[in-house]
Structures are given as structure tokens and as C-alpha cells.
Amino acid sequence: MKRHLINRAVALCCAVSLAACSSSTAEDKPGAPEGYNAALQGVVNPSQQQGGTLKVGTSASCDNFDPGTTYGGSCWFLHRLLSRNLVSFGKTGQGAAAGNGAKLQADLAESLGQANADKTVWTYKLRDGLKFSTGAPITSADVKYAFERMYATDVITGGPQGYYLCLLDKCAPDGTPTYQGPYKDAKGSLSSITTPDAKTVVFKLTKPFGDWDYLMALPAAAPVPKKNDKGSQYGAGTNLVSSGPYILKTVKPKQSVLLARNPSWDRTSDPIRSALPDSIDITVLSNADDLDARIKTGALNVSLDGGVQTTFQSQILSDPKLKANADNPVLRSTTMLILYPSDPTLANLHCRRAIAYAVDKRDLVIQYGGTNGADFATTLMPRGLAGHDDKSNLYPSGADWTGDLEKAKSELAECGKPDGFSTSMGFSNYGNDPQVFASVQSALKRVGITLTPKQLDASTSYNTLSTPAAVKGQRIGIGLMGWIPDYPSGNGFLTLLVDPARYTGSTSSTNFVGVDEPAINVQIEKAATASSDELAGVYQEMDKATMETAYYIPVTYAKATLYRGAALTNVDMTGDLGTYDLANIGVKAP
């Protein structure tokens, strides 16, 4: 599946203190964490020294910088430098490992969204003195326009519009909104968003939605000035009006991107981004091992890809000097088996549960590179998200995590297949997936379940496994997927997997199996209006209810080995712990 955004966390740092420290120099701060996993404990090499060029490497080229159309993880990380939203994911700061990443912070807005009691009306007030890179003021109309252009679904394609369209407009059963967007309907406008004045924007939703702030933090919600909009050409080349600390200076597709300072960005208005380097030079390298080699030698400072490749990981783990600059976080993502009821055998709950018990998680962790590559998963919700319950484990895999074969056989007997059954498993031909298939195949064979492979091209595997017609057409019974939330909340992670409203039956859907269970639907309704204090409990219940159905079997929580270049200062994590936060990293003077 596509790599998507993830979450970020909050550290309190007011604008005044940022301004005050901006002129300070780099120095060793007593008590600052250092060594292996230091960035999970706090900011490494804390410093507010400005200047220099941060050299970043990535193997995933961001060819389109239109915030409305981009949906790639590395593109979203870069948008944090180019665009500001009403609210954004803050600094992770102290305690990244403890789950700070799920918190949001006011960005362009003065505060987080002010919602009414049933969470259908959300109001934001913009800060003073905000400007685009053109020098024009950022107004509520620009925020509204970013949403209006999403409704041109033939022009603004590929982004996360699916989250917004029917929350902000009445939709036909096939998902067609009433409003057609500003290109086809130049005189109309999206009536659900009102702008009483240049600083106030009010969203009136079609139904209660408690996680609206999270949707406001996605790049697609960044303001777009109407007069600079070029439709599908907005974001092509350097054609992007920036509201963040940097602008696109040069873009060489598949080669490099150079970011320079946005002269109109006001440091005092931005509590989230330190924006220390004067420029950021991003090199696109198709060979990820070459990228690792350049980070090791210092030719590049940091990777936008996150985890290093196996070769460099081995070097890091065996060399204390390298290891001192590395981190090994558990990411906010869960690798799971999807059990499709379109396979008649797997329509039976007990047959699904037999698989849940029979899986050998110990071997799966080994296939992902051992304990540095993955951790045992017992719930769908990964660690660090409100709603994760470390004690929950509905289908124990035995003391050694190799599976509970007795219980698996007992479930098989209950489903009327005491000798097992046959089905097929769809998986990508990328990375460890083929080995994972082999592991699942041999684990299930122990109880008589025979798996045949359906290897899918990496570029089509997500679309295949998320499209019911494709799953049925290719007779796939089990799908292997790494599930990463677009936004770090129970809604962004779990509700998407189980919400019947997401399932169309024909098109690509995140409710992969068409879950429609009353016990889960009740929790979905509760979550829409629950207070932040209640949410963790609601999602724990939802996770438990979903696990009961055994449509999704979590097998591992993903881990990655990250490497901090020696020249980096002020190293903070992104909220998903998948990489380091470019918006706050600095570089030592050469």
C-alpha cells in the first residue's frame, strides 16, 4: 500500500521563546539525550543555530507539490516545510516513544478548532500577520478555496479528498457531491464553509465528526490563493505559493529539489517549525543502498525514507559508533492479514479465528528482520495511539508466539472443517512480503490449511487488496497489508477499516472486507462526538469488537532503524516516528 502520513506530536514552545532563541548558537545542552534511541527520549543535539544547507536524500520522488493531489509519505513530510495548515502536528520533543505524536497544535489558527456540542460546526480564527510567499495576506477565503477546488474531482485527483467531500456537502449515493468545484462552477461556492471575516472560517459538517482537527492537519487542507491556482498545473515545477518557511526554488523531477527560505514567513507566527537551515537540498536516489552509503559518509545528512536498508542496518548494529547515532522506534503501523468473507470458507467466523490462532508470529518477526524490524502485535491499534491496549490479546499465540495449534484445531472443528481447508493469499512482490507469505503458509499448514500464493505487483497490490471486485475476481482469501494511518487517531486508523459508510462494494475502500457489525457501529457513533478523555476507551472497545470478528488479524507492529547524520542538530522525530522532523532539524556549521 502507499506510504502515507502519519502523526506528529507536540512540545510546548511559544513564539516568543522561539524568537528569543533563534539567535543562540549551537552548544551541548546538559541532560540532552544521546546514544542509541536518544531521539525517542527527546531532542538530540538541541540547538537553535540557524544557517547552512540541510542535505536530504530520498528514493521516492515528489513530482507534484499540489497539496490537494499529493498522497505520498515523503511528499507530506516536505509539505510541512512548504505549507501551513489551520492546525498541524507539533514537535515530538520529549517522550516521542511515549506517544506524543497523536497530539495537534494550532498553526495558522490561534487555537485548535472550536466545535459545537455535536461536533458538526467547527470554527477557527487565523493569527495576525500571516502571509503567502507572494507577500499576499493569508485569509479565511484562501482556506475555503483549498476545499472548494477539491470538489473538481476530475482535476484535483490522487489526494485524500475522500475524507472531505461528503462531510462538507450533500452527496448522491454514488458519492457525487452537489457542488462541482470552482472550475466548472465559477460563480458558485461551497456553502458549508463560511468566512464571516478575513480571519474567521466556519465549517458546517453534514454529520458529527470528532476528528475534524486531524483532517485540518493534512496537506490537502493547506490554504491556496485563488488567483494563483492553475488547476492541475498548480504544484507542477515550482508553481506553488508557499505558506510555510520554505519555497520551491528548483525542482528537477526524479533528480533533486532545492528549498530556499520563504521571505514572507514570520518565525514569530509559527510555533511548530524551527526552520533552522537556510536551504534544504533534496537528492532523489533510486538506489536506497546508495542513499544509506551517502548518509553514512556524511555526503547526505538525513533520509526522508525513514528506515535504512538491511545492509546498513547490519553495519549499524555491529558498530557501536554508528549505533550511537541510530534509533529503532516501533512505528505507528500494524501489519495485518485481511480475511475476506468473499471466500465462502472465510465467511465463517470460526474458520477466520482458526487462522488467527495458527499464525506463527515468532517466525513473522524473524521474516521482518528480527526484533529490530518488527514487534509482536496483539491489537489492531498500534502503540502510541489513543485506544491501544497493551494488555489485550484476543488470540494468544502461546508462550513462545509460535501459535496455539490446539485452539486453531478446535476452531476448525467448529467451522465444520476439522481437516483444514484451502484458500489463497494476496501479497506484494516487494520487500519481505514473499517471505511473510511463506511463513504464513507453513504456519497454517500445521493445522491443515493450505495456502496458494497470489503474488501482486507492488504498484497494484494496494488497489487490488482494497477493491472487492478485484479480490473476488482473483479469488483472494487472505490479504497481507501494512496499515499506516493518514492521521494518528483511532478514527484515522481503526474507523476507516470498519466503517460501513466507507464500503461501496465496487470501488477501492479502506473497509476492505465490508465490515458492518452493530457492536462496532455503536462505537463509531460514540467516537464521532466523544470528548478527548473518552476517546481512548471508545477505541479500545472498537478494537476489541473488531478483533472479535477476526476479519483483520494483526501480526506485527512495524519497526525501523533510523540513522541521524553526524552533522545534525536539534533532531526531533516526526509524530509517526518514521523519520526525523525536517521542520526542526538544523545542521552544524561546516
Binding site: 513530482d63 498522497y71 490522487g158 485524500p160 498545473q233 488497489n463 487490488t464 470501488t507
Partner: protein, 338 residues
């Protein structure tokens, strides 16, 4: 002569047409095999049927297959206008397609990528032709010598070690290896010839060696075998009997007989490699035609795949024509229709 040229051009156009039809058909078959609508490759998560339909309409996936193909084909001659209103773009002739994913014309991408691939292939060709032919000739002339045995071993190594392995070794050794070998500590990066000819050559050297190592081995083995066969011909025995110097016999008579076939092989290899050296470009992250094709395939960017395939086919066709012309120059029997 005119008739011959016309036949060649028509034949070439036929090949290009077939290549484009086959590539296009593969992509039309893809949704039928995977049961995933093409539109979904251009949309995000949670796409409604309406969103998918809107994308299909704009990109033309909802049109009959023949109409989609004709639109693409005619665009090569006349150019195309895509989209309307604020999103309107003109793709000038020869419009080999327009990538909606990257918002760029495919022709523009090919124009940018071709010099990279050309730089790689031409430099490597000089190395493998000079090295391979010379080594093959010397090995044949000194059959059984240490040079012959040594070149055989090195050739076997070259043939046995795939590019992705030798390329990775080179990258590691030169960028992250021991300090005395770390000549490219800043990484090996493509620099356009027009920007800095020296850095262009310096950065291309490892790439040339990587590509040439494998092919040189093939040419060495082949040239040696061909030379040995030629050297056992009657006309060589006659030349020797006439008292000609060994160098003259080998260089003027033996090598001359082998050269036309070497040119044929080299022409075809060049044509094929110019279409994209995917593994080498991917390893060294050089933005040439091979990487363009690879990225197009991995993102299901049909216009890019169509464009790169057709351009690669075009290069092979051109290489064939050039080889024929060279053959006529090098071999008088061809020139005189013998």
C-alpha cells in the same frame, strides 16, 4: 536505391506501429486481469464511484480502446490539447503522450532523459569496443599465452558478474569504502556535459566501467573466437606464405574480416542499450531513459511507458539502418550487391 530506402522506412514504421499496439494492448488488458479500474491508480484512498468516473472521463479511460489509441497516435503528428479552462495544457507535436501523474509531456521527459542514457552508452561503448576487440585480437594472435589465459579468466568473470552486483561494489568502494579508495565521497551524480564536461566524465567513469565490464567480456570472447576462425582460413595461410609480417596478417587481413560483424553486433547493442540501461541507471540513480521507463512501469504511468517503449523501438530501428549503411561501407560485396 530509392525503392530500397522507402522499403526500409516503411518497414521501420511498421515495427514502431506494432510496438505501440502491443504496449497499448498490454495496458488495456491490465484492468481486465487485475479487476482494478485504471482510474484507481490516479485516485487516493476511499474513492467514490463518482470520483473514479470523473477521473476516467478526464483521462479518457471511458472512451473505446481504438479511440484512445487513435487520440494518442494522432497526437504524435498533430499535437494535442488536454483539459480545459484553467487546467488546459497543449502538448506540442510530436506529442508522445502527457503524464497526468507528473503533469509533464512525455516528449519533454524523453528529451531530458536521452542525453543521460546517450552519455552512459557512448562512453561504455568506446570502452567495450576498444577493450573487447583489442583483447580478443591479441588473445587470438597469441593463443595459449598468458595473455590469452588471463583474458579468458577476466572475460568469464565479466560475463558471470551481473551489473547489479558489480555496480553495487563500485558504488560502495568509491563512495563509502576505505579512505584511499573513496574517490567519490560526495556520491556519484550525473552532471550534464553542457554544465561541466570534466565532472560529466568523472562522474560517468564508474558507470561506464560497470556497463562495459560485462559487454567487454562478451566482445573479447566473441572477437577471439572469430579471429581464430578467420586465422585458419586459406587466405590467411596465403598471406603468411607470401611472407607478410604477422602484424599485417592479423591487422589487415584477419581483423578486417571480423570488423563488419563486430560493427553489426555493436550497432544492435547500442540501439538496444540506448533505449535504456535500466539496471545501471537505477543503481547509480541516473535519470536516463531506463529509469524513466522503470518509474513509469512502477507507477502504472501509461503515457510514459508508451513513450519510452516507442522511443526505444525507434532507436533500435535507427541502429539497424545505420548498421546496414556501415556494412555497405565496410564490405564491398554488400555495396556492389554481391
Amino acid at each position: 536505391m530509392i525503392r530500397y530506402a522507402a522499403n526500409r522506412v516503411l518497414g521501420a514504421l511498421g515495427v514502431l506501429l506494432v510496438a505501440s499496439v502491443v504496449t497499448f494492448s498490454i495496458f488495456q488488458l491490465l484492468p481486465r486481469v487485475t479487476k482494478v479500474d485504471m482510474a484507481f491508480y490516479y485516485t487516493g484512498r476511499n474513492t467514490s464511484p463518482a470520483q473514479a468516473a470523473a477521473v476516467s472521463e478526464r483521462f479518457g479511460f471511458d472512451k473505446p480502446v481504438w479511440e484512445q489509441y487513435w487520440t494518442w497516435l494522432s497526437g504524435i503528428v498533430t499535437g494535442r490539447d488536454l483539459g480545459d479552462g484553467v487546467s488546459a495544457v497543449h502538448c506540442a507535436a510530436p506529442c508522445l503522450g502527457y503524464s497526468f501523474r507528473q503533469n509533464r509531456s512525455v516528449t519533454e521527459m524523453l528529451v531530458q532523459a536521452f542525453p543521460v542514457t546517450l552519455s552512459i552508452v557512448i562512453g561504455a561503448a568506446v570502452l567495450w569496443l576498444a577493450g573487447g576487440v583489442a583483447a580478443g585480437v591479441i588473445a587470438a594472435a597469441r593463443r595459449g599465452s598468458w595473455f590469452d589465459r588471463g583474458s579468458t579468466v577476466i572475460s568469464l568473470l565479466g560475463v558471470s558478474i551481473p551489473e547489479f552486483f558489480s555496480g553495487m561494489l563500485l558504488i560502495y568502494a568509491l563512495t563509502a569504502g576505505p579512505s584511499w579508495l573513496r574517490w567519490y565521497s560526495g556520491g556519484i551524480t550525473y552532471v550534464p556535459f553542457t554544465q561541466d564536461p570534466v565532472r560529466w566524465a568523472v562522474n560517468l567513469l564508474p558507470v561506464w566501467f560497470c556497463l562495459a565490464f560485462l559487454i567487454t567480456a562478451v566482445y573479447t570472447r566473441w572477437t577471439r573466437a572469430a579471429m581464430l576462425e578467420t586465422m585458419s582460413e586459406d587466405f590467411i595461410t596465403t598471406a603468411k606464405a607470401k611472407g607478410l609480417r604477422r602484424r599485417t596478417v592479423v591487422g589487415k587481413h584477419g581483423l578486417r574480416a571480423v570488423i563488419p560483424t563486430v560493427v553489426t553486433l555493436a550497432g544492435l547493442d547500442l540501439g538496444a542499450l540506448l533505449g535504456g540501461v535500466i539496471i545501471v541507471e537505477y543503481l547509480f540513480s541516473f535519470p536516463g531513459l531506463g529509469r524513466l521507463a522503470y518509474d513509469g512501469i512502477s507507477t502504472k504511468d501509461l503515457p510514459v511507458i508508451m513513450g519510452t517503449t516507442l522511443f526505444a523501438a525507434f532507436l533500435i530501428v535507427v541502429a539497424n539502418v545505420v548498421v546496414d549503411a556501415c556494412y555497405a561501407i565496410l564490405d564491398p560485396r554488400v555495396r556492389h550487391g554481391g
